[in-house]
């Protein structure tokens, strides 16, 4: 039995410092690059360029002399590193995504000065993003599943404050004046701007949203045929990365994807599928750093011309260079794109792009030497690109050594899961991963031939939960994959490839257990909620099982809407339900509280509950 939850119970509780030790002495290290963390960071060590790579699959930091293209050392870690950041004194901070820690590491990674963990700091669930404030007094850490921003005092590495955030925070950067932190979110319509001074006082007004999507985009739907006009709502998602502009200054780049989830009247029968409309387009929101608003022009995406623009599915990492360029890795198409970061909407000003080994997930740019370094997670390699060689490509890839290679079938399945260019899987530039972000979900509701359907989380939810699909029409995973692929206009995946994809999605890692013990009050509240959940009067357990994780495998009439083609809906597991809103098959309920209240009579009965019992029920469900 696992005990993961979404971390909200502990959102404002200070993580504990687990181990304290003296930073290790070593050669002086000069940080190369900005204050924000990344999956690849650079340093000047004894006059040589060294890259430190967060190798999540290997659960280690790889140290590479990029001048000699040679691995120097590997530091095994107690968790999978997501990002690294180098202190001015040369220490390295690493977020350990699945062990809920930030590791502070001394040494430089040479034989004379090996890397060593000096300190481990507990952080809310799933730490990912890292960034220093300009004075380097504070190290900011985002926690994905725990949806928090934690501020660590760099002097003593104690927690100064934590700030609750909207779901799925990823990258973070601090503004030049140190007043704000900007946080990207893998789901949701906005970048969060956090006033650090207010957050330190726990003020409710410390956080505000910077929308990175337009309310609507108008364009000619099909000028040649009808000359009709079409208004399309595009939803922002896949906000993994942020970068601070360096020329001109005062701007934050937020690369993301804009999804068109609706369907036009001549819907071709897919998920959010409309002829002539790209379901997902790449965009870079440019945020005015000083007033925390997105520049209007950077959000406008033409519906009709989108297909002519540079695609960058799953934009995973971003760095800006001194030359004004913005570099973004595109995990879904194995590319690095160079955009003109000085224009108001960089996605329309592509300068160059490079094809890369599979899974480009992290990036660093060395302005002094005009080099870009990209870590490709799936091919497990570090690619060096000479940016100052015009008209041709200078590119060199170093395969990193394998300590514990990933199972080949799972590794292949992972590549398929993220591939947006495989016509067997998708005919419209999407991939499994573009909706099932990180194997979870995009928080969006997509039009489908069955009606609007919320993207379900995959990680940890597939075992013993057959049948599949909101209506339970697929008796096994293979059948449901075939149905999904057909709705992405793919030609179909068969044989070993299909088996490998299944191997991957059934192996997806889940958010780890929260590592901060709940208080006695919280424990009591959840226990009370479990009793409410299991009570015959409320009736949740009748279908979801006593623990909420053992669905009955049956379909029930939820009295959804009259026009639903299928009246009966399959009982889902409630695993991780607390972090996967919106709710109901059509996403009509924004919060768990709404779901439990407004579905009264459709699935269970909550109207009769006292306020305390209802709060307990919600607390219990949230811990699933």
């Amino acid at each position: 039995m696992h005990s993961a939850n979404n971390g909200s119970v502990s959102a404002h509780r200070s993580p504990e410092t687990a181990v304290a030790s003296t930073p290790l002495a070593g050669p002086k290290v000069e940080r190369i690059g900005g204050r924000a963390g990344a999956g690849v960071v650079l340093a000047n060590v004894d006059g040589r360029r060294v890259a430190y790579v967060a190798d999540a699959d290997d659960r280690s930091i790889r140290v590479i002399d990029v001048e000699d293209q040679k691995e120097l050392s590997t530091l095994p870690l107690p968790g999978a590193p997501a990002m690294l950041a180098i202190f001015r004194d040369g220490r390295i901070a690493a977020t350990l995504r699945d062990s809920n820690e930030v590791a502070i590491i001394g040494g430089v990674g040479t034989a004379r000065s090996p890397l060593q963990i000096a300190q481990r700091i507990r952080i809310a669930v799933e730490p990912i993003g890292l960034a220093f404030t300009p004075d380097e007094a504070t190290l900011l850490v985002t926690s994905g599943w725990g949806h928090t921003l934690t501020a660590l005092d760099t002097k003593n590495l104690e927690v100064r404050f934590t700030q609750d955030l909207p779901r799925d925070p990823r990258a973070v950067v601090a503004s030049d004046d140190g007043r704000r932190a900007f946080v990207a979110h893998a789901t949701g319509p906005a970048v969060s701007a956090v006033d650090l001074e207010k957050a330190a006082t726990n003020a409710k007004t410390a956080i505000y949203k910077v929308p990175v999507q337009n309310i609507s985009v108008e364009g000619e739907e099909d000028a040649s045929d009808r000359g009709s006009f079409f208004a399309a709502q595009r939803h922002a998602c896949q906000g993994f990365a942020l970068a601070e502009s360096r020329m001109p200054e005062g701007r934050i780049f937020a690369p993301h994807t804009l999804a068109f989830t609706d369907s036009s009247p001549d819907d071709s029968g897919g998920y959010g599928s409309s002829p002539g409309l790209e379901p997902e387009v790449f965009n870079v929101a440019v945020i005015d750093e000083d007033n925390a608003t997105a520049m209007k022009s950077s959000l406008a995406v033409s519906v009709t011309t989108a297909s002519n623009e540079m695609p960058c599915p799953l934009p995973r990492a971003a760095v800006s260079g001194k030359n004004g360029a913005l570099y973004v890795t595109c995990l879904g198409s194995n590319a690095l794109v160079e955009l003109d970061g000085s224009v108001v909407d960089p996605q329309y000003a592509e300068l160059r792009s490079w094809k890369l080994p599979s899974g480009p997930s992290a990036l660093a740019v060395d302005d002094d030497n005009s080099r870009a370094y990209v870590f490709s997670q799936f091919s497990h390699s570090l690619t060096t690109i000479a940016l100052d060689v015009p008209g041709e490509i200078a590119i060199e890839s170093l395969a990193l050594s394998e300590r514990n290679p990933m199972n080949e079938k799972i590794a292949h399945g992972r590549e398929l899961f993220h591939n947006t260019t495989d016509s067997r899987i998708s005919g419209d530039g999407r991939a499994c991963a573009t909706c099932h972000v990180d194997g979870r979900e995009d928080s969006l509701v997509w039009a489908s031939p069955d009606g609007p359907r919320q993207t379900p989380m995959l990680a940890g939810r597939l075992a013993k939960t057959a049948p599949y699909g909101w209506n339970g029409t697929s008796k096994d995973i293979s059948g449901h994959i075939a149905k999904t692929i057909s709705r992405l206009h793919g030609s179909g995946l068969k044989g070993e490839d299909r088996d490998d994809l299944i191997a991957y999605i059934t192996s997806l890692s889940t958010p780890t257990a929260i590592n901060i013990e709940p208080s006695n009050e919280e424990t009591a509240l959840v226990a009370r909620g479990e009793k409410v959940f299991d009570s015959p009067e409320v009736g949740c357990a009748n279908c979801h099982g006593d623990d909420g994780r053992t669905p009955d495998g049956e379909q029930h009439d939820l009295k959804s809407v009259k026009w639903e083609q299928h009246k009966n809906f399959d009982t889902p597991t409630l695993d991780f339900v607390g972090g996967t809103g919106p709710y109901f098959h059509d996403g009509r309920y924004t919060t768990l509280s709404q779901l439990l209240t407004k579905s009264d009579g459709k699935m269970g009965h909550t109207k009769q509950l006292s306020k305390d019992d209802f709060a307990a029920l919600e607390a219990f469900v949230r811990t699933r």
């Binding site: 000699d68 001109p248 002519n308 000085s342 224009v343 000003a349 490079w354 008209g391």
Partner: protein, 267 residues
């Protein structure tokens, strides 16, 4: 350092570049450094007062709705009268002029073309000092360079011109006669070009990025270099954050290989 140690490895098939440009340049320009276009004099004038350049109607097409206008030395355009409105068409020709001091100016003449009579009048002369705001690196672009000049149309708009140092240039989608590239004519300084066939961009403060593509034809390509047209792309936009006291003109300029990836102009 890396520059010495780094060994360039030709791109392998598995790492093939799927779309790349040549040299790329991006910069921002303080708008206050740009001059604003002003009209020097209003007509009507009977003749063009540009030295070495003349303009006259050489052919009237059937029905009288259009006429062919010859721009000496060797450019040509079609113009006419809006028959339904009985209103002569307004058009214009432009040129980039290099002064004795080497300073560049953009000169423009407004034309009123009545193809029924037929007659042609110069209605106004305008000019503005040009500022070079970007240039492709001549070391890498087949020994040639492409300059981009800018001026302000008014307080809210800026125009960019793709200039010429002697090579033939033109809009890639130009189909009508009169374009330098179409005629193989060199767009040298002082050579007049029909307005619509200049590669130009006009930006407003609320515009998104504006993009222009064009071709350069090398009549005298260096040894070993191809004579294929070199396609360039200019991206430009206003941009202003609260940290910028005035809008910046952001420009990027880069070249493309001869294989195109699609065109938003509808080709």
């Amino acid at each position: 350092m890396i520059s010495r140690k780094f060994s360039l490895i030709a791109i392998a098939a598995s790492l093939a570049l799927f779309f790349f440009g040549g040299s790329a340049h991006a910069l921002t320009v303080d708008m206050s450094t740009l001059d604003t276009m002003h009209t020097e004099s209003h007509g009507p004038f009977g003749t063009l007062n540009w030295s070495g350049v003349s303009i006259e109607i050489t052919k009237q097409f059937s029905g009288g709705n259009s006429a062919q206008i010859q721009i000496a030395p060797d450019a040509r355009l079609d113009g006419g009268t809006y028959l339904s409105l009985q209103k002569p068409e307004t058009n214009g020709i432009s040129r980039i002029v290099k002064g004795k001091d080497g300073a560049l100016s953009f000169e423009h003449a407004d034309l009123l073309i009545d193809s029924i009579i037929p007659t042609l009048q110069i209605t106004a002369f305008s000019s503005v000092k040009l500022v070079e705001v970007a240039r492709l690196d001549p070391k890498v672009d087949r020994g040639k360079s492409v300059p981009i000049y800018a001026y302000r149309v008014d307080a809210a708009h800026v125009a960019l011109l793709v200039g010429a140092d002697g090579q033939s240039i033109g809009k890639r989608d130009a189909e009508s006669e009169g374009s330098c590239a179409q005629n193989g004519q060199k767009c040298v300084f002082d050579s007049p070009v029909w307005n619509d066939h200049m590669v130009s961009l006009t930006l407003g403060k609320d515009s998104q990025v504006a993009q222009a593509r064009g071709d350069i034809v090398f009549d005298d390509a260096p040894n070993g270099a191809t004579n294929d047209p070199l396609t360039y792309i200019v991206n430009a936009s206003y941009t202003q954050s609260s940290r910028d006291p005035a809008p910046l003109l952001a420009i990027s300029l880069h070249t493309m290989p001869t294989i195109f990836r699609g065109d938003s102009d509808g080709e």
